[in-house]
Structures are given as C-alpha cells and as structure tokens.
Amino acid sequence: MTKAQFDSKILIVVLLFVLLVILLALGNLQIIQGEKYGLIAEKNFVRIKSNSPVRGEIYDRNYKPIVLNKPSINLYILPGKIKDRNKVAKFVSEFFSVDFETIKKVIHQNRFRLYNEVLLVQDIDYETVVKAAEKFDRFPSLEFKTEQKREYSYPNHFTGYMGKISDKEYRNLKDKGYTINSSIGKSGLELYYEDLLRGEYGYEILQVDASGKSFEFFKHNLHQDAVDGADIILTIDNDLQNYITSIMPSSIPGAVVVMDVTTGEIIAYVSTPNYDQNIFSKTIPETVWNNLMNDPHNPMLDRVIHGSYPPGSVFKTIPALLGLEKGIIERDTKLISCDGGMQVGNRFFKCWLHSGHGRLDVIDAIKYSCDVFFYDLSMKFDLTDMEEFTKMNFLTKKTGIDLYGEREGFFPTTQWYVDNYGKYVNILGQKVNLAIGQGEILVTPLQVCSHYATIAANGVWRQPHLMKKIIKDNYEEKKYYQEQRLPSKSENIQIIQEALYETVNGSYGTGGAARVNGVKVYGKTGSAENHMGSTTHAWFAGYAAWEKPEIAFCVFLENGGHGGSAAAPIAKKFIQYYNSKRHSEEGK
C-alpha cells in the first residue's frame, strides 16, 4: 500500500489551498487597494523617463573642432493631448514651413503613444519660437524643448552625418536606450563610432503623484545616470584638409588622401564636390535634396573609398616590383625596345608616346611611364601571379579603414574572363592591358595612397585610419592599428623608390610638375582611360621626404586629364603648404 493509492483528498486540499492564496492576494490588490491602483492607472503616475547622454564631439589632431554640439530648439507633440489632428497639423506645417502631409503622417503613426513626446520639427530659429509660443495656448499638445544638434565645421565626407532614427533601426536598437525621437549616426564616423559617441542612455523612474507624494514601489536604483559619449580626436589636420579642399578644381570631381607614412594616420581626406552636412540637422527642404541627388557630379559620393577607378600608370609599381621579386628583371635589365607600341597576338598595343622610348630599364620605364616595357614584362608572368601580388599589396583589397562601405576594388581572374568573355578569350591581351593599370582593374584612391605609403616605409603596410585617440572622462586612450611587413625585399623597394624620385626630379620625368624646392618628392603619374568620359582620369601618387619619408599622398581627378599636368600640380601645392607649415612649427 503506497501513498499514491490513497484517494485524491490530499491533492484536492492542496489545490484549494493554492486557490485560496491566489484569491486572497487578488482580493487585497483589487478590492482593498483597488481604489489606489485605479488612481495610479488613471493619472499614469508610474513611468520610466529616459535621459539622453551628451554626444561626443570630434576634433582634429591639434584639438581643433570638426564636429561640435550646439543647442537646438525642437518642437514636440504629445499625442494624448491632441484635440483636433488636422488643425494642429495645419498650424505646424504653416508656422514652421514643413510639409502638411508629413506632419499628418507622423501624428497618425504615433497615435497610440499617448504619453510619449513625439518629435515634429527640429532646429527652429529663436524668432519663430517666440512668435509660435504666443499661439500655443490653442494647442496644448505642442511643446518646445531645447536639445542639441551637431554642427560640422566644414563640409567633408569622413565625419558623415546624423539623422532621425528610422522605424527599423528603432526596433533593432531600442534595448540600447534609443527613443523614437533619437538621432543616430547615418554615415561616416558618426555611424562607425555610434556606440562610442552616443554614450549610454540614463533612466529615471517616476513614481510620484501630483501632490509630490511618492508611491515608494521602488526604493533602490531609481536613477541610472546617463553616461556621456566619448570625444574623438582624429588624425586629420584641419589646416591641410581645408587648404587642399580650397585648391581642388571647382569643375572636376576628385579626391585627395594624405597619410602619415610612419603611422597610417590619415592627415587629409578630401572628396570633391562636397556638401554641407548641417542640412541634415532638420528636415531637408525638397529642393535642396533634389539638387543634391540630381547633381551629375554626385556630391554625396565619397570618392576616397566609395569610388573605385582604373588606376592607369600609378599601378605600374606593382608589375615592376613583381618582376624584380620574381627575378625576371634586375635593376639594369632592359626589355624590348619601345618604338611606339608592341604587337601582342593579333593586336597592336600602343605606348602613350607614339615616337617611342627605345630600350629602357625599370627605373627609366617608371620615370617615363613607358607602356611597352610593362607590356613586355607582363608577358613573363601569369595573370594569377599578378592578381595575388596586387592583393598582397592591399590594392583591390579592403584596407579596413574605420568607415563603413569601403569598396574592395577589382582585379579580374582568368576564371572571370572565361565567365564573362567565353572560353576563347585572349588572356594575354587582357594581361598586357592590366600591367599598365588599364582594363577591368579598379582601385580606390585610398588604396593607392596606402600602397605608396608602404613603398615609402620600405615595405611596411600600416592600416589607414582616422581615429587617433578617444577621450573619456578626461582620460585619453590611444588606439593601435594593424601593421604588416609585406613580402617584397627592401632592395627591390629601394629600386622603386629611386624610380619614383627620378619621375619627379629627373630631367623629362613625367612627374616634374610636383617638384618642390627643399623637399624630396617621390611620385608617379597616371592617366587612365575609362568608360565614364572621353578624357582620362588624372592620378598622381607618391610621398614626400625630409630627413625621412613623412607623408604619402594620392591625388585623383575624375576625367581630369593627364596625371602629370592636372594632378601633379595639386600635389606640388599641398606639399609646399605642408613644407612651410612644417618649418613654421619647427621654428616655434
């Protein structure tokens, strides 16, 4: 006889006991305290309020401001207090000159958020605020709040901009404390370092009735303080950045990157034409937006990393290095004589100099940018070798800069040709073309700059980056980046360095326009044919040395003409500027 063979009375007694406990607790809540809770519910006394942290500001390497917070007066609506939706929408749209339908839509979308303030209009000027406030007694649902907006010191493509959180972003990120009214980084560094810049939202629990009496549901942890975002010190030098922006041709789109050879720090990051990011601090008027979108030069495109282009002759350092590395050529090896071109299979490939260069060694081939030398050289290695070597040098490979959406670039493989041109494609002809940086190859100006920085650093590749330091609670934290020795031998790199020096400083070198007194400028020109227009892309990439190599640069002008005549003079100007700044700083 076991206990389970007893009848079910014990079970029933236990069940009735549980029921009694629940009913007693319920009775206490609903009958004895019912009135109190009814009042709390009616007045909505217990609520969580979220407090926004102050967003981190962004400064250049000399602590000069790039992005600062400025006060901004914003208009909010409390959907629970709306008397007449149409009237309030009409008032707002007329008084603050915003679209009536947009306002109506926002109010409609948030009709259930009775007790949540909903952002309607941002960044209202003070006079409008004063005038509008007089009429607010007719619209008790409206209120102004002074908050912060971002102010960008100058137009640029690296800081990006902020915007109002989208429904999708809000759904994914609300656990981090964002509200429906939050602003969030939409592009550039504002997006990349969003978590760092934002800080942490704070909370406060409200459990006080109208007379100030606390309900004391919660006794501990009533506050969770907001943690302000960290300030960020960038590697950018505002002076150089602005100087370069000012010397860029106004009618030709382009990009310039200047990097510190010894660290990978990006000192200037220019893409033109640009646009003023401050327009995003409030609803953008349709005309402004349409102008931005319809501009054929696409000002919102960041040409430094979001554009990829055929490099033309600035690419020639790669086949030259590969030839030296593989022992196909040596310093003095002269290849086939250039008489204005070369027959490859059934096609005649021209050299840019139709009269021909004669027989050249690698240094002169780079100096005069002779195409035939590289046609001949490319016949001596596989396409796969060239593809791998290019990637190994971080061209057509992401550099990992601290921005999103960096383009990888492109280098075709044999398989790619077979897939796109069929089995009988003439790989030889394609390879010859690729060796002078033409054909399907695409690179970003940043990749080119980083490649020339690697040459300047005798083969050490340093990850390009924009963030120098984080400042949090007066404590500075330095960031460290990847550094990698690329496999090329330093004696081979020195041969390339010599060639780049000759290009700028030797007689009849193609880069003569970048010569600067008192500075050792190394560089390579490029004029790349392309599908975007009849004129070539103008490139000039290289580095400048004083006691030691200091800065590497890449100048790119979209359909800007010839590298030697269009791009090199820009490099000359900013190297001169950098040189004089360097002297004045040394003098201090």
Binding site: K3, L19, A25, L29, Q33, G34, E42, Y115, F217
Partner: protein, 405 residues
Amino acid sequence: MIRLKQFDWVIFSFLLLIMLIGVVAIYTASTTKTEQGFDVKNYYIKQIVWIFLSLIVLAVIQIIPKPIFEVLIIPSYLFSLILLGLVLLAPEINGSHRWIALKGFNLQPSELAKITTIMMLAKFIGKNNLQEYNILLRAILIISPPVFMILLEPDLGTSVIFFVIMLSMLAFSDLPFFYIILIASPVFSIITSFSIIIFIVYILILIFVLYKSKLSNIAIGFVVAINAFIAVLTPLIWNGLKTYQQNRILTFLDPMRDPFGAGYHIIQSKIAIGSGGITGKGWLLGTQKNLNFLPEHHTDFIFSVIGEEFGFLGCTFILTLYFLFLIQIAKSVSLLNHLEERYTVIGFLAYLTFQLYVNIGMNIGIVPATGIPLPFISYGGSSLLVNVISIAIILKYLNERSVFK
C-alpha cells in the same frame, strides 16, 4: 482504443472552455483602442490554429495502442535530452539559450522535457516494493540531466519547476517523510542562512517537526547536520560570487530592485490588475493595456489584462473554473489502476498547478518573476501543445482504465 462511453467528457469540456477563455483574453490583450475603433493583431487567430493542431494531437494520442505508447516513453525522454543539448548550441535569444528557432515559431525544448521527464519518473518509481534508497536514486538520476542542462541555458525558473514536480511525486511515493524533508530543507537553509537568529529558529522548528514525525535521533541528527553544513557553506559561496551575479539572484528574488526591468513590469501588472477593481473596466477597455506599458501582454502578462478588464469577479470566475478542472483531474487519480499512471497524473497536476501559481503570482507580485506562461491561456504554440498533450495522456489513461478494480 478509444471507448467513447468511458471518455472523460468533463475534463475535456473544461479544457475546451479554458482554451476558449484564452482566445478571448489574447484577443483583447492584442487589441489597442484608437480614436477610430480597435486595432486588432492576429495573435488570436494563430492561437485558434494551434488549438486545432493540439486537439488533433490529443485525438491521435487516444488512438495510439497502449503498448506502443509505453515503449515510446524512454526514447522520447532521451529525445528531449538531445533537444536540450542542441538548444545550448543554438544562437542566443534575449540573452539565453532557451529556444530553437524553427520556421515561423520558436521551440522551447524544456517544455517537452517536462512531460517526458514526468513520464520517465513515473515509469521508474511507480513500482511496488521498491527500496527507499532505490526510489531516491532513480528520481535523482532521471531528474538531474534535464535540470542541469536547463540551468545552463540559464533558466532558473524552469529548473525550479522540475524540482517541485519531483518533490510532489516523491511525496506520494513510498519514500518516508524524512527523505522529503531532507531534500527540501536545504533550500530553506540557504534562504535562512543570512541571519543566524532566523536560521536557529528554523532549525528548532525543523527538529520539532522531525521529532513529531517520530523519527529516530540519528535521522534527526543527520538532517540537522546537513542543514548546518549548507548554512555555513552558503555565505562562503555567496561572497565568492561577483557583484553582478549576486545582483542577478537578488533581482530574481526581489524584482523591485530592478525598477527599469522586471520590477517595472511587475508594478505595471499590479497597477493594471489593481485598477480593475471589483468589476473591471470592461472587455477591450483596459486603459493600462491600451497604453502598452507591458511589452508582451498576450503571453506572460496576460493575467494582468484579465484582471484589469474583468476585475475581481471575473478573475474569481475564471480561477474557479480553472480549479474545478484541476480538482477533476485530482479526483481521477484514485480511479486509475496502475501505479505509474497515478504518478504521471500527479506529476502533470503538480506541473500545471505550479505553473498557474507562479504565473499568476508573478502578475500580482507575490512570486519572483520568471518567464512562465499561464497554461492554456497565454499565447504560445509550443507551450499550448505540450500542455494539451499532458491532458491528452491523462484522458487516455482514464479512457483505457479497467472498470474492474
């Protein structure tokens, strides 16, 4: 095979009625009042679909021949252990590994494990003339693997359910009272060890109870020694925990420590239920519900909506119905011939009652917060299915019992 005459239509009708109340509650819980009218989400339709699916499963269980059914117990126990292992490898959802995301819904293996573990336990301790130590050993061996894996998820609340199920089943076994106290008392020791005076009072009560149960002095000495050992050990372990781990446990016991998380939800639930008063605010008209203070009020906090809209009278009506249902199941225990069937029913009963108590207790703020739904009423396919299966098994046992004792 099913014998319609002997089928327990009373239990079945209660089940249908309670699930129907669930649909009504889900309908209102997922409805928001607007200026134009009501904005209804389609959760209630999904729940109806799940009810139909569950009823089909219920019918199938009635039809399966009993020998096959019994042979399946061990494999399904092992299968649920495998699922519990797999869920630990699945990606985290809401900070723990409780769900396996399948197309369309999230499967919670611990739900299935409850049923299979109860049946496994009943099969192995539901035998006459088992030695005392043997009962205890079997119970611990069967219950440990699922509890251990569920603790790893981590899901403290569900592990506690397993513990309660095991204790209630053992309470009806041949195991002497002494063992039950031996298993249960350390829990109280842990709680009371934080104050020496309270612990001494507790030990004195324990000794008194054991003495009254006519236990030998050796047995009493043993229980007291174990409790004292645990009481000494607890503060040592506690101080060894990191602050955030301590906070997590304290918040589990007292959600009011966490005003921005669990505490906030419980307060909002209490406000909703309390403001319902005696008669409630009326069907679809709960103001707290319409303000969306509680994120998922069609699942774990559905009772707050019932309390707000139907008031004390409505709650009492539904609870009475619910308990009549449970009492009807309790009554059926003595009708069953086989010991292991009785254990199974006791296990299911303990499991349903405990979930009901923990869920409603959380809604009215008398029990720590855990993610346990209200059986048959909360929205959720896999939990509904598992709960209906447990009733289906009870109905099957009742249906196939021999009328001759």
